[in-house]
């Protein structure tokens, strides 16, 4: 079977940008075309991962706008929204388009423009994904994180400091990512003394609000060889959902969408969790890195915090997690994040990650929407 390859990738500077959504998408799109060495008229399918350009900016129809700005007409185009996992869902759509034979050259661009809104407004746009019984109580995604972190620490007797160490690790990794929003180290005391946002979690347990865009170019492996020797293949991908109402989950410290999407991806790739060399996880909140690392099968339930304490997930550890700096330091432009995760794994697998480079042949990206409401897990391998 002809596997699906990624032959080019790009990401813009993440952070507070003057550019608006159309400009951000076009910037990443043009860079990815150049990186892949293809012309716009070769693009057959063009997907845009974006959660809320209408709500944030009053600009809808972004896929068609991007097709025009890149001169990619008459490419088929669609916007992919799966909230925070829109990027991963875009990877899924792009993979599907190539795997099905519908397209021999697909581009995916993910992006979001958020920083012109206040924190309260941006939090509300994201919280609008919640069920009415949650929304009317003022429940936000950060408050889900606080609720779950308290239960996790209590259930597994984990120290509060272990969550802080996720932030310290990911900020340290982000230092070497030129595209990251924050390129500064933070120490544990700074994390633990920062203002409370959703008790017991504090400011440094949360990713920032970010503008940015990232892009990938997909094609069949047989076509990839015509363009480059430096490509990776998607060997497994899975998507899954969990309950819309978060409190209805049997075990609030387990993300069913992570368990189910990764089982599909592992089976497709014929790989086990121990085969993964490097991973990008959705650390929108520090607690999410523990939950995902356990639900992906890297560590036993309730043991993920020990891996961080023991340095297992450091860049020079046995299983480096979030070498990019993660959402925590790199930033989280909603629709771009899942695309940027795959960008990092792509760079690691082709050996082009610079100072962040680790020894890896197999990488995994896990992109979480809502509070685990929708999840995409993607496994990639060197060619």
């Amino acid at each position: 079977m002809d596997r699906v390859a990624i032959i080019g990738a790009s990401m813009t500077q993440f952070g507070k940008r003057d550019a608006w959504i159309r400009e951000l998408l076009a910037e990443a799109g043009q860079s990815a075309l150049a990186d892949a060495g293809i012309s716009p008229d070769e693009v057959e399918h063009l997907y845009v991962s974006n959660m809320a350009s209408g709500e944030f900016e009053g600009q809808t129809g972004v896929p068609n706008a991007l097709a025009h700005d890149l001169a990619a007409m008459p490419a088929y185009t669609a916007r992919i929204d799966q909230t925070s996992s829109s990027g991963g869902a875009g990877v899924y759509a792009a993979w599907q388009s190539v795997a099905s034979g519908a397209s021999d050259m697909t581009m995916l661009v993910g992006g979001e423009k958020m920083t012109h809104r206040t924190t309260a407004e941006a939090t509300d746009v994201i919280a609008s994904l919640t069920h009415p019984v949650e929304y009317k109580h003022g429940v936000t995604l950060p408050s889900f994180a606080g609720l779950t972190a308290r239960l996790y620490l209590d259930t597994y007797d984990a120290p509060r400091e272990s969550l802080g160490k996720v932030a310290v690790k990911n900020h340290k990794n982000g230092l070497d990512n030129p595209h990251a929003q924050f390129r500064k180290e933070v120490d544990l005391d700074t994390v633990l003394d920062s203002p409370i946002v959703a008790d017991p979690l504090r400011l440094y347990d949360f990713c920032p609000i970010t503008d940015g865009s990232a892009a990938l170019v997909f094609c069949p492996e047989s076509v990839a060889r015509e363009y480059t020797d430096d490509y990776v293949v998607i060997s497994g991908i899975g998507g899954a959902t969990d309950t819309h109402v978060v409190h209805e989950r049997a075990d609030p410290t387990t993300m069913g969408g992570v368990v189910n999407s990764s089982e599909i991806a592992y089976e497709m790739a014929d790989l086990e969790p121990e085969d993964i060399d490097v991973a990008e996880l959705h650390d929108m909140f520090t607690i999410l890195e523990f939950l995902q690392s356990e639900d992906l099968g890297f560590f036993e339930k309730g043991e993920g915090w020990k891996a961080v304490e023991e340095g297992v997930t450091d860049r020079d550890g046995e299983l480096p997690i979030n070498t990019s700096g993660g959402l925590k330091s790199k930033g989280h432009p909603l629709g771009a994040s899942g695309v940027a995760q795959v960008y990092e794994i792509y760079k690691q697998l082709i050996g082009d990650a610079g100072e962040r480079q680790v020894d890896a042949d197999v990488g995994l990206a896990c992109n979480v929407g809502g509070f685990g409401n929708c999840v995409i897990t993607t496994i990639m391998e060197s060619r």
Binding site: P132, V133, K136, H137, V139, G146, L151, H247
Partner: protein
């Protein structure tokens, strides 16, 4: 309970499970067979948080709890605000207390007419 206060309505399904809120079908895919008014019961705090970064129209700080009711042996969870000025810990017992307006309708992005804005807060006993 007086007639003008709406119930805290959960749905019961054929397999005996109960969910709050109710859904068109239960976990087993079957339509509900009855309702339960959770405001007749007390609940235990499973976890809680105090959110300081609240969205437009929401009180700040906003203490929230996920609680678990025991309805004749069947566990049912709910999320909600903890009553003003009150503090809770994991394992505390709470009672649902009706509140006419939990959040200012229209201050946030959600269309005011699309949902209810009243409901039940949890008060520690």
């Amino acid at each position: 309970m007086s007639d003008d206060i709406p119930p805290m309505e959960a749905y019961r399904y054929p397999d005996g499970s109960i969910t709050y809120p109710g859904h068109p079908v239960g976990p087993d895919g079957e339509e509900p067979v009855g309702t339960v008014d959770l405001s007749d019961y007390t609940a235990t705090v499973l976890t809680w948080t105090t959110s300081t970064a609240t969205p437009p129209g929401v009180r700040a700080p906003n203490t929230l709890a996920i609680v678990e009711f025991d309805v004749d042996g069947e566990p049912v969870r709910a999320i909600g605000q903890v009553t003003d000025e009150d503090e809770v810990e994991i394992g505390d017992e709470v009672e649902p207390v009706y509140c006419e307006e939990l959040r200012e309708p229209g201050a946030g992005i959600r269309e005011p007419a699309s949902q209810d804005w009243d409901g039940y807060q949890f008060k520690p006993l």
